[in-house]
């Protein structure tokens, strides 16, 4: 049952007035639907995304290959869809994972204060102070075999995906942690927190049942805004050859492949580049829209 007066419902009603954000949401939604039904297109076109066809390399648009083929004769349209799967999924999972870490750290720091706060915030500062790109390169280059992880994980196809999600989450939680800490500091002084203590609620209950629901809107906004930057980060890493590993496609590694052929087949770079651009900008518009909807008093 949806309560017509719940804060979330009221925010959604305000959100509906934000045309650009609605448009962005539609773009993202259709993109998600398209990448979800990618196997359907495979059947329809009669080729698979990783299928090499050296007789039709760098072909132009045709009925069989709507957006042509790449340097190995693979269908670009299908690879874009599968790459989108990886890029969007990486972005969403990593952003949510990072936000969860940040939320717990920020809540503990803000609620308990004192030494724990100082410790956690110095930790946050240190993570922020680390130069991101070199760190990512080092993390991405770690040899998983030497870490003693089970062979099944190391050899699995998805390992580069997990690696990216983990790396982004471990470095990306700081924004949310600071945001949540600040909001918790002000929320814990509100009288309803004292009232919750008065009915015998424990610290954990107050943190997660009373304070956290009040933080949902800023967290949702932060996650939305960060999805875009995670997708960019994934592209950068894949572009450097450290992210998603071929033959698995991602928009980032498609760009890498395309750069060698930028004069022969410029469109191979344009397609993934354009999709990254559209996705990132849509997430930003969506985030802005949500921000306005959740915080109608904020002026721009």
């Amino acid at each position: 049952m949806i309560n017509q007066n719940s804060p979330l419902f009221l925010a959604m009603r305000r959100f509906r007035r934000h045309r650009l954000a609605i448009f962005s949401a539609c773009v993202l939604l259709s993109m998600i639907v398209l990448v979800m039904i990618a196997p359907l297109f495979e059947i329809l076109l009669g080729v698979s995304a990783n299928q090499v066809d050296l007789y039709s390399r760098m072909a132009g648009s045709s009925l069989a290959h709507p957006l042509g083929t790449d340097e190995l004769g693979r269908d670009v349209f299908l690879r874009l869809l599968y790459g989108g799967r990886i890029s969007l999924f990486t972005g969403l999972t990593a952003a949510c994972f990072a936000a969860s870490i940040g939320t717990v750290i920020g809540l503990c720091a803000g609620y308990f204060g004192g030494r724990l706060d100082a410790l956690l915030m110095r930790l946050t500062d240190s993570v922020i102070a680390l130069p991101l790109l070199p760190l990512l390169i080092v993390l991405a280059a770690i040899d998983l075999n030497k870490l003693g992880l089970p062979e099944a994980i190391v050899q699995s196809e998805d390992v580069s995906f997990y690696r990216i999600v983990l790396i982004v989450a471990l470095t990306g939680w700081t924004t949310v942690a600071r945001l949540v800490r600040g909001a918790t500091l002000s929320l814990k002084e509100r009288e309803f927190v004292m009232a919750a203590q008065g009915i015998g609620a424990s610290d954990r209950h107050i943190m997660f049942r009373h304070i956290l629901p009040n933080l949902l809107s800023p967290i949702i906004v932060a996650v939305t805004l960060s999805v875009g930057s995670v997708i960019l980060l994934e592209s950068v890493l894949s572009f450097l050859g450290l992210g998603i590993q071929p033959p698995m496609a991602s928009w980032g590694n498609m760009l890498t492949n395309a750069q060698q052929l930028i004069w022969e087949a410029p469109l191979l770079a344009v397609y993934p580049g354009l999709l990254i651009f559209i996705t990132v900008i849509s997430f930003n518009f969506l985030g802005d829209g949500l921000q306005d909807a959740f915080d109608p008093k904020a002026e721009h």
């Binding site: 004292m194 009232a195 008065g198 009915i199 015998g200 424990s202 629901p213």
Partner: protein, 326 residues
């Protein structure tokens, strides 16, 4: 009848202070009172005299750096001072509840009022959320909220101040606690709503047999509610007795002065008298009687030595040198 039972809550020689770098600043000094089953004890005094701090100490919810320095608080003979957090959590909201001054901010804005009334029941009575919600609707009806089934589904921002205070009372009484602490529960409300809320508290007290520790600065409100009154000034109880003792025959000059500042329907005056000066802060309390600098009857001894409480009758006591002479 009830008077023969042992008191529900006994506070003895309680002192509360704040720890700071420059040492301990004691704010509430050596106060004692007891609350009998089904009765109302009112703590009366100006802002800053330590009433709210005393109330919070009953729940062991003192602000950061606040600390019970000495004395004891006994609930049914069980010592609460120094009790572990987890044991205290089982008492709060279950045996001792509190309603706060600001009904506007004491409710969580993102939950419906039904959910909030159900919460203590889930925490303390092992009820399932749906059972607790049903009970919450009954409680909302008991505190006089019309159409409780649909109101339970409302968010705090949809309710008026009076309604919200009723919800707060429903939350506080949901587990049928032995003691209800009401910290200026009507201060933020209109006069008409004030009267309704006081009547409601009275009715519920009879229905549930709750003892109330009522905190107020307003003798008008107190006279409606209290069986016993303790008047506080600068962290001490300076006069204590039954409502009749204190209201009809006040002995301490501060009580008299405070009573004179309360508008009365039976006496007409052009201008209500004010008490000159202000309550000294804990750091600047004088050596002698704290009220001496503002008192019209003060003599030399008042400013050099602190008066002890003098028992006037079985029920009535006051801490003033003037009382001893009279």
């Amino acid at each position: 009848m009830t008077a023969k039972q042992p008191p529900v809550l006994e506070v003895e020689h309680l002192s509360i202070g704040f720890e700071s770098d420059s040492g301990i600043l004691s704010v509430v000094e050596d106060i004692s009172f007891s609350l009998n089953s089904g009765e109302t004890l009112a703590l009366v005094g100006e802002s800053g005299c330590g009433k709210s701090l005393t109330a919070l100490a009953m729940l062991q919810l003192l602000p950061p750096f606040g600390k019970v320095l000495s004395g004891s608080i006994k609930l049914h003979g069980k010592e609460l001072v120094g009790l572990a957090d987890s044991s205290m959590e089982a008492i709060r909201g279950n045996q001792i509840s509190m309603i706060f001054q600001e009904p506007m901010s004491a409710l969580n804005p993102v939950f419906t009022v039904g959910q909030q009334v159900a919460e203590p029941l889930i925490l303390h009575k092992d009820m399932s959320p749906s059972e607790a919600y049903q009970r919450a609707i009954e409680m909302l009806e008991a505190v006089g909220i019309p159409d409780p089934i649909s109101r339970a589904n409302n968010y705090p921002h949809q309710l008026s101040g009076g309604m919200r205070q009723r919800v707060m009372i429903a939350i506080a009484l949901a587990c049928e606690p032995d003691i209800l602490i009401a910290d200026e529960p009507t201060t933020a409300l209109d006069v008409t709503i004030q009267a309704q809320i006081l009547d409601l508290m009275h009715d519920l007290q009879e229905k549930f047999g709750t003892s109330i520790l009522f905190i107020s600065h307003d003798f008008g409100v107190v006279s409606r509610m209290a069986d016993e009154i303790a008047v506080m000034y600068a962290g001490r109880v300076i006069e204590q007795g039954t409502a009749t003792d204190v209201l009809v025959e006040p002995k301490h000059p501060y009580t008299t002065a405070l009573l004179n500042t309360t508008p009365r329907i039976d006496i007409s005056v052009d201008r209500l008298p004010a008490i000159p000066g202000r309550v000294p802060t804990p750091a600047e309390r004088p050596q002698g009687c704290c009220f001496a600098p503002r008192c019209s009857l003060a003599s030399d001894i008042c400013s050099s030595e602190r008066p002890m409480s003098i028992q006037l009758t079985d029920s009535h006591s006051a801490a003033c040198y003037e009382v001893g002479h009279g």
